[in-house]
């Protein structure tokens, strides 16, 4: 530490400054500069490309089709993401939570079920629930809990996933995600249960529990201010009551499930 002396060769001179103040300082309030950067109420993305998914949950056969990716949010509070819609109701420093609903497409006989003629269709239906999320830097953890809201579709499922976003370059992001699904016996019974007297499958009543674990790799490559190449690859393993289902264990079923999307996305 060097303490300079008044009047030394350092150029310090006796200035007309009152240095005697010894009380509490006056804290000055500052104003933020107004910035003219655009801040839209609406934000989102529309994408289309190629998607691959199981013909129905638990099916061995996967089909490719034109895929769409739609995400819209209003003031960061109300959001629509493909088959889900929700509203942010609570937020603090670390946690964001709210209400969410999901349109579950069920299981539709589009001809592919001919191999499994005795497996009934499941009507599409709404599920309602709640969500909570937390994030720290590029790490995020989300939870969604859904409850069946129709006569045909009951039970509870809980999805938990965590991921971390890597940025190899300023235009490229890679997000590995690990997730798991817990389902109640009623929920699993809807998709994986078999009634007594089924000619093809033995009767089966699944117990609730961990029903799925998955790994997903999502990546985005920006090629314009509002354009992205987007890809997601999700590999799931059915577990517990889902994996034990005669439907899944049959020739037409599989514990391994793959969902992918590759496409171009426009940000707005």
């Amino acid at each position: 530490m060097s303490i300079i002396a008044a009047g030394s060769a350092t150029g310090v001179s006796a200035n007309d400054v009152d240095a005697s103040f010894g009380g509490k300082p006056i804290y000055i309030q500052a104003d933020e500069f107004e910035d003219d950067r655009k801040k839209d109420s609406w934000a989102g993305q529309i994408g289309f490309g190629l998607s691959v998914a199981p013909r129905f949950v638990g099916a061995d056969e996967h089909v490719a089709s034109v895929g769409f990716d739609l995400k819209v949010s209003y003031k960061g509070t109300i959001f629509l993401e493909n088959n889900r819609i929700g509203a942010l109701l609570y937020k603090n420093r670390f946690v964001r939570a709210g209400a969410i609903a999901r349109w579950n497409l069920g299981r539709i006989d589009n001809g592919s079920l001919s191999l499994l003629e005795t497996i009934p269709e499941i009507d599409d239906a709404f599920e309602v629930g709640i969500f909570a999320a937390t994030s720290l830097y590029k790490l995020f953890l989300t939870t969604e809990i859904y409850f069946g809201a129709s006569d045909d579709f009951s039970g509870t499922s809980v999805e938990v996933e965590a991921g971390y976003t890597f940025e190899p370059t300023s235009k490229w992001r890679v997000t590995p995600i690990l997730g798991a699904v817990w389902s109640s016996s009623a929920f699993l019974d809807t998709f994986y249960g078999v009634e007594e007297g089924n000619p093809d499958f033995e009767a089966f009543r699944p117990n609730g529990g961990l029903s799925e674990a998955y790994f997903e790799l999502a990546t985005e490559r920006r090629f314009g201010e509002n354009w992205l190449f987007k890809g997601s690859f999700r590999f799931s393993e059915l577990l517990g009551g889902a994996a034990d289902s005669p439907i899944v264990r049959s020739a037409g079923g599989s514990r391994d499930q793959l969902q992918t999307f590759v496409g171009i996305v426009w940000l707005f």
Binding site: M1, S2, I3, I4, A5, A6, A9, T10, G11, V12, S13, A14, N15, D16, V17, D18, A19, F21, G23, P25, I26, I28, Q29, A30, D31, E32, F33, D35, R37, K39, K71, K75, G76, F79, G86, L88, R96, G98, F131, A133, S135, L136, Y137, K138, F140, T142, G163, T165, E167, P168, T169, S170, R173, T175, I177, A218, E220, E225, L228, L267
Partner: protein, 334 residues
């Protein structure tokens, strides 16, 4: 139309100042000292390494010692009139603002004075929308303080938007402080700017990304300097993380002000270094910088520069930076 005598004097002074600045540095070195009795503005910039207390241990004695040194200097009448602090994240650093006799304190934006979401925030569009934050998540405030013996007439700030930072630096609400001080040295106020720019290695992000963020921060500084300045002299000081040549080149060319350290070393007839201060400590081997510009009516002349606060306390340095203090002779045409 009438032209005030003051206006003519200011114009002539500005012309003289511009002429002097336009001369080769070699010529300036041989120029005679002027106005040796003119008042001197003492300005200290100091990154005190006051990271949030959860990340560090044993810091309060160091903060207390820094405050004590400033009190000792005030008692000796040699205190810097203006102190610009960076990395004062830990609440316990407030001892420096509250107990060192500075009458006016301007604390930079806190964690909640959040910066805005930029157009390319890294969480955008990646996953579920509700996991995204409309404003960037900040764990710490700006860590900035301006302590002043002089009244602060105007205080503004601009927190960097979320696409104007990179890596771990994004967790603190890094910002730029603008202050207009009414000093007794001139009728014109003197503008002071304090900031802490994006770090390089400790940001833990790819080099291209942090360089881009640093350039954006420089652009923001230039933009809001334009909005703030009203023709008064100015000193811009802080930890600009410009040790890297590319960063320094872009920064200095963009703000287009005089580097006080360079001017001092080029004008040894006017300006001296404190004992123990090495030339490269104020030129290249440092992220701590001071830049300045005269006005038409007020000229600032660096006459002394120091890297101080070199003391060790129980074998520990007071900070991982040294203080950077420059004394400016204030020459007026008023």
């Amino acid at each position: 139309m009438t032209i005030q005598a003051d206006t003519i004097k200011a114009g002539l002074f500005g012309l003289c100042a511009a002429t002097v600045l336009a001369q080769p540095l070699a010529a300036l070195q041989s120029a005679p000292a002027v106005a040796a009795d003119a008042p001197v503005l003492r300005l200290l910039s100091y990154n005190i390494n006051g990271l949030p207390k959860t990340l560090t241990k044993g810091k309060p004695p160091l903060f207390n010692r820094i405050a004590e040194i400033l009190r000792e200097r005030r008692a000796a009448g040699t205190q810097p009139h203006v102190v610009l602090l960076q990395e004062a994240f830990d609440k316990r650093t407030s001892v420096i603002a509250d107990t060192t006799g500075y009458k006016y304190v301007y604390k930079g934006p806190g964690r909640r004075d959040t910066s805005r979401k930029g157009r390319a925030h890294w969480t955008q569009a990646t996953r579920k929308a509700y996991a995204l934050r409309p404003n960037p998540q900040k764990i710490a405030g700006s860590g900035l303080y301006i302590l002043s013996d002089f009244p602060i007439m105007d205080a503004r700030y601009k927190a960097f938007d979320s696409d104007e930072c990179a890596g771990f630096d994004c967790l603190s609400n890094k910002a730029i402080q603008f202050a207009r001080l009414q000093t007794p040295f001139s009728e014109q106020p003197i503008d002071i700017v304090n900031s802490h720019f994006n770090s390089r290695g400790s940001a833990k992000a790819p080099g291209k990304i942090v360089l881009k963020a640093h350039k954006k921060q420089t652009d923001v500084l230039v933009k809001f300097l334009g909005a703030f300045r009203q023709g008064y002299p100015i000193v811009i000081a802080g930890d600009f993380n410009t040790k890297q040549d590319k960063r320094y080149a872009y920064f200095s060319e963009s703000i287009n002000l005089m580097d006080a350290g360079k001017v001092c070393l080029s004008n040894k007839a006017f300006c001296s270094l404190a004992d123990g201060t090495k030339e490269d400590e104020i030129l290249y081997r440092t992220n701590d910088k001071q830049f300045y510009e005269d006005s038409a009516a007020v000229r600032l002349q660096p006459i002394w520069a120091a890297r101080n606060f070199t003391e060790m306390l129980d074998g520990k340095p007071l900070s991982d930076h040294l203080g950077y203090e420059v004394h400016y002779r204030v020459l007026t045409s008023e």
